[in-house]
């Protein structure tokens, strides 16, 4: 049963919702066009723009809280975008229970990360450009989540892809960063292809890509089309959210500045796939095959990500693997159907807080260690960078799921829901929780405890206030977000996700106790392996296939190379050969024939008027001949 939202047209405050998008977009353009004059103030302009968006989002949220449930989903029509033939696409915004949570996350965490970046990028000479891109990202991401229409959503979808590309490759002087940006862009194109085809099928089948029309039409879809459309959307989601099989770009994306990793590649953009699946629930609910595929992708990714996380020495890559894994949890929840939607969004929000917190913490550590990312060169930092340590610890406790921190509630619900639907998925989710505890404990131990393994000339120091204050705020939310939202979010999201509220527990259930047991085991194992023995300065050679596979990202690049890159190169070489040996020869031949013909024909133009008169006379004969032939024929 699909329940549809009741939408009300925008009035008052809501008719200005577009300003949330316009302000950062205009500031981004201003910063990019403005040039060097803005170098000194540009970053504060950008911070201001996000704060404006955040205030607007907060006001709208407050309005919604005060209004009754029937008046919370608001449409804001903007303009006729495409009017051609039978197509009429209206660009508009949809501010409902789901999108406002995203808007708050994007602008809230976005504001903190903007402020943090003021300190983090202080010595970068291209700081103004960096902030312009960040604002561009905020604007595009808001278009993505606030769109009332898949085609408008796609604009935001591509916009965040562009911003991600620009920011991953921000340090373009590093070949590795340029390559990573390119890789992210190309792999995202694969997902975008699915997205494009999904939107095209919507236009073809429903004559519109508006959420309202698609939700209505989905109920009448035949199984073939609902499965096709679901799988296409899932392909798009996999690309954007770095889910297997399109996961390989996210680890490389860590080449970007750390605030970018925190904002785009942990808290917001990579969760767009989860948003897409939840938003398209009407389509997924019509196809068991498509939802099974979502569960499968989520389960596989949560294990793959965790596995990669266990064997990396680069602090950001551990966190990246962890991000993949946690998004896998969300995807899994989204694939579970009505029981899971709210939990997927719940985990998405808590993850947004604690993962942004830990990424920024990692940035702060790197700041202290002269941008070294190798955890084997860290150690004993807890006493030196105390604020970073304590805030990071809150994120750590939250992600491994220690009650009553944020991650405990959100992850535990997903594991329980998974058991309700499929034992296999439930066991995998449970196992993932144990592995998460293992690799996060390893990270904590290698970074903050043990011996000092600092390189010569590195003098760690705590980061400035502009960086630590956002950390403290995010740590606070990592602690309380779970308790605050646990009893509320399901009911709040019910109209938007069409799911029925389902009583949640406050105290651990038997599965909850089991989870905690596994978490404890993971922590203990990590302590035994990394806490009791000194950490070697280089990664010890290992013949353990699990370790080797983890260190090589489960051979994701090798698989892509063998399955896609090499065949494509062979095809491309074949086409080039065909071009130069067959087509060019043919085309040149045609050209030669025509110029030969031309050279002969132009000789008829002798310049002598008697010849011209003769030609005309021949023309007269020709005219006569044609006329006679016509009469005969």
């Amino acid at each position: 049963m699909i329940t549809l939202e009741t939408l009300v047209p925008a009035t008052g405050m809501f008719s200005y919702a577009w300003l949330m998008i316009a302000v950062p977009a205009v500031v981004a353009a201003f910063l990019l066009i403005g040039g060097r004059i803005l170098d000194r103030v540009g970053h504060w302009l950008a911070v201001g723009a996000v704060l404006v968006s955040f205030s607007l989002a907060s006001c709208l949220f407050a309005h919604q809280l005060l209004a009754g449930p029937e008046a919370r989903a608001v449409t804001v029509p903007l303009f006729d975008w495409i009017t051609t033939g039978m197509w009429k696409v209206q660009a508009g915004l949809l501010v409902d229970q789901l999108s406002i949570l995203f808007a708050l996350l994007i602008t809230g965490v976005g504001s903190l990360i903007h402020i943090y970046s003021v300190g983090y990028m202080a010595h970068d000479e291209r700081r103004r450009r960096f902030f312009a891109y960040l604002n561009l990202f905020i604007a595009a991401m808001l278009i993505l989540v606030l769109a009332d229409n898949y085609l408008v959503l796609f604009v935001g979808w591509e916009g965040v892809g562009l911003a991600s590309y620009l920011l991953i490759g921000f340090w373009q002087h590093k070949p590795s960063a340029a390559a990573a940006a390119k890789k992210a862009f190309v792999m995202n194109r694969v997902g975008d292809l699915g997205m494009t085809m999904a939107v095209m099928s919507m236009l073809a089948l429903f004559g519109s890509s508006a959420f309202v029309a698609v939700n209505e039409g989905a109920a009448k879809l035949d199984p073939f089309w609902s499965t096709t459309m679901g799988l296409l959307l899932l392909l798009g989601a996999c690309g954007k959210s770095a889910q297997v099989p399109l996961q390989a770009w996210l680890l490389d994306a860590m080449e970007g500045p750390t605030p970018v990793s925190a904002l785009i590649h942990a808290a917001t953009m990579v969760t767009a796939g989860v948003y897409l699946v939840v938003r398209s629930h009407a389509i997924f609910e019509m196809s068991a095959a498509a939802t099974t595929a979502v569960v499968l992708v989520g389960t596989v990714t949560l294990l793959v990500g965790a596995w990669i996380g266990t064997s990396k020495d680069d602090i950001k890559k551990v966190l990246a693997g962890s991000t993949m894994s946690q998004i896998g949890y969300m995807m899994l929840a989204a694939g579970l159907g009505p029981v899971g939607y709210a939990f997927a969004i719940f985990h998405l929000l808590t993850h947004g807080f604690f993962k942004a917190n830990m990424f920024l913490g990692a940035g702060s550590v790197m700041h202290a260690m002269d941008d070294d990312v190798n955890m084997r060169h860290y150690g004993a930092l807890w006493n030196v960078t105390r604020v970073t340590f304590w805030t990071f610890a809150m994120g750590y406790l939250a992600i491994i799921g220690i009650p009553p921190l944020a991650g405990y509630f959100s992850k535990d619900h997903i594991i329980e829901a998974a058991f309700e639907v499929s034992t296999v998925a439930g066991v995998a989710a449970l196992l993932g929780a144990g592995v998460t505890a293992f690799y996060m404990t390893r990270l904590m131990l290698m970074t903050f405890f043990g011996e000092k393994r600092w390189r010569d000339g590195v003098h760690p120091h705590e980061s400035p206030k502009v960086m630590t204050v956002p950390l403290v705020i995010l740590a606070f939310f990592s602690v309380v977000a779970g308790v605050v939202m646990n009893g509320w979010i399901q009911e709040w999201l019910e109209p938007a996700t069409g799911a029925h509220a389902h009583e949640v527990e406050w105290l651990p259930t038997p599965i909850g106790w089991l989870t905690m047991l596994l978490v404890a085991a993971g922590v203990g194992l990590a302590w035994w392996l990394f806490g009791t023995k000194p950490v070697p300065d280089t990664a010890p050679a290992s013949r353990n296939p699990i370790t080797i596979a983890g260190r090589n990202d489960l051979f994701g690049d090798a698989i892509n190379d063998a399955l896609v890159v090499q065949p494509t190169l062979v095809l491309a070489r074949g086409l080039v050969a065909n071009d130069s040996r067959v087509l060019d020869v043919g085309a040149d031949g045609i050209g030669t024939v025509f110029s030969g013909l031309s050279a002969r024909t132009r000789r008829l133009q002798t310049g002598q008027v008697r010849a011209y008169a003769l030609t005309m006379t021949i023309g007269v004969l020709l005219v006569g001949a044609v006329l006679i032939l016509t009469q005969l024929g």
């Binding site: 050209g591 025509f594 110029s595 013909l597 031309s598 050279a599 024909t601 132009r602 133009q605 310049g607 008027v609 010849a611 011209y612 008169a613 030609t615 005309m616 021949i618 023309g619 007269v620 020709l622 005219v623 006569g624 044609v626 006329l627 032939l629 016509t630 009469q631």
Partner: protein
């Protein structure tokens, strides 16, 4: 016996009258105004008169009643096509006459001979050149020609058409021979044009006589009736039709009656070439369509194959010979021949057009307008690219123009793209319209041939673009400093070429709605 006074619709016919009157006043200016003032007086006169004619045209057309009908005792048929053609002729006439008046490029004198009557190289010529004399008669001559063209496209009987044909042609023969530089070439071109033009006029007149013999009337409508109820055998009609076609196709520049085009376009002063390339073509096509659709419409099964064969020959020869041209004016001449072929494709189609679709005449007028804007600007640009001896006509000397003057080279590239029919230019919409008209008329094979020809044509135009932008600049060739008189046609031509490609809707609607001929 009572004699009724002939009626004459003054307002409706005023556009032609104003132009004719201005031409006569121009002659008086030559006789009465001192030499120093003549140039200014002529320029002001042609500008004002053409603008006035245009305004009167709009006024007459927008009248709720009496704007359409047979005028001047049935000699002129004033219908939608006439208005469209008149408006186009006036606009393009004004734009090309502006280039006539350009003096900045030639060190303060126009592109016309100081003394056209003196023998080239003679002391008389040298004297006139030193005295900086100019032939300001070119303006009234062009106005006479323009008036002839306007009557030609609206003529409702064959005698009026013939008179108009001569009124339009005679001044052109003179103008062609009046180049300031390369005078021998210019005079040779004029003589060729005159001889061949006389030959074609003879054919036309003979055709008029034969068709009169068949139908007993000069009136187009009456000829059509006679075809429906013939009194005599059809031999007279077919022979007459063939001869009429020859006379008209000669003016259009269709193969095999095209020989004069390259030589005359190259020899004539470039401003005159521009005028001929647009206005003569407009007038000739307009009259051809009227004669064939109105007078011979009932006989279309016999002339459609004829025109189809001519169209294929014209397109093919135009584009193929253009491939190896080395002179920019000659290239544009062959280009103009091939465009005549594309237009004939739509003439052959001869469709009234379904609701909401563009019909034959509408597509022809759109094509002519798109072609006209590109042509007026292209020839104006040819006058601007110069070396020490005057205009640099060798295509090789245009190499690297993109670096010397990116704006002008960019505009020329846009015009080339429009000629080639690349999307987002007016030329593309024009080609699309004429092809779709022919397709609806059942001539799909002709459309395929036309598409093939436009493929080859693309090479011709792209070659020029490649040369301008991807070759080393040639020393000694530069873009002259022209006044607004040249820049206005260039800018307007370029802007409209782009505009008609982006927003063809309004003009397409206008030409489609105003395409019903009166009989």
């Amino acid at each position: 016996m009572t004699i009724t006074a002939p009626t004459f619709e003054w307002l409706q016919l005023s556009p032609v009258l104003v132009v004719l009157l201005a031409a006569c006043v121009g002659i008086l200016i030559e006789a009465l105004v001192p030499r120093v003032w003549r140039f200014l007086a002529q320029v002001v006169l042609f500008e004002l008169s053409i603008l006035a004619a245009f305004m009167l045209l709009v006024l007459s057309w927008s009248q709720p009643r009496n704007s359409l009908g047979l005028m001047a005792m049935g000699a002129i048929s004033l219908d939608g096509p006439s208005y469209l053609m008149w408006a186009s002729l006036l606009v393009f006439g004004l734009l090309s006459l502006l280039v006539f008046a350009e003096r900045d490029l030639g060190n303060g004198v126009t592109a016309f001979a100081a003394s056209a009557a003196s023998v080239p190289g003679s002391p008389a010529e040298a004297e006139a050149t030193t005295a900086r004399h100019e032939h300001t008669e070119v303006f009234p001559l062009a106005l006479f020609s323009l008036a002839g063209m306007m009557v030609f496209v609206a003529a409702n009987d064959l005698i009026t058409a013939f008179i108009a044909l001569e009124v339009m042609s005679l001044p052109l023969y003179l103008l062609s021979g009046m180049a300031r530089r390369r005078r021998l070439l210019s005079q040779e071109a004029a003589l060729k044009y005159f001889l061949l033009g006389a030959l074609s006029s003879a054919f036309f007149l003979f055709g008029v006589a034969l068709v009169y013999g068949f139908s007993g009337s000069f009136e187009l409508g009456a000829i059509n009736d006679a075809i429906a109820n013939p009194v005599y055998g059809r031999g007279l009609l077919y022979t007459g039709m063939a001869f009429l076609a020859i006379g008209l196709l000669f003016k259009i520049g269709a193969v095999p009656f095209h020989n004069w085009v390259p030589d005359v376009y190259v020899g004539a002063p470039t401003p005159v070439t521009g005028f001929m390339a647009i206005c003569t073509k407009l007038a000739a096509v307009g009259a051809t369509v009227r004669v064939f659709y109105v007078a011979l419409g009932a006989e279309r099964w016999s002339w459609q194959p004829l025109l189809a064969v001519v169209a294929v020959l014209t397109m093919a020869l135009g584009v193929v010979v253009a491939l190896t041209q080395t002179d920019i004016k000659r290239l544009l001449a062959y280009s103009s021949i091939s465009h005549a072929g594309f237009i004939l494709v739509a003439v052959v189609g001869a469709t009234a057009g379904a609701q909401g679709r563009v019909n034959s005449f509408g597509s022809i007028v759109f094509y002519l307008i798109a072609y006209g804007f590109a042509t007026v600007a292209a020839f104006a640009i040819v006058t601007m690219v110069r070396d020490s001896t005057g205009e640099a006509h060798a295509i090789s000397s245009w190499a690297g123009l993109g670096r010397k003057n990116p704006l002008l080279a960019g505009i020329f590239a846009l015009l080339m793209l429009s000629f080639a029919g690349i999307p987002l230019t007016g030329g593309f919409i024009g080609k699309w319209a004429v092809f779709s008209a022919a397709w609806q008329g059942g001539y799909s094979w002709l459309v395929i041939a036309a598409v093939a020809a436009s493929l080859v044509a693309a090479y011709v135009y792209l070659r020029v673009i490649v040369l301008m932008f991807f070759s080393e600049p040639v020393a000694g060739v530069a873009v002259g400093r022209a006044s607004g008189l040249t820049w206005v046609p260039v800018a307007l031509g370029a802007a409209l070429s782009a505009y008609l490609g982006l927003f063809p809707g309004p003009l397409l609607d206008l030409v489609t709605s105003a395409s019903t001929f009166l009989r």
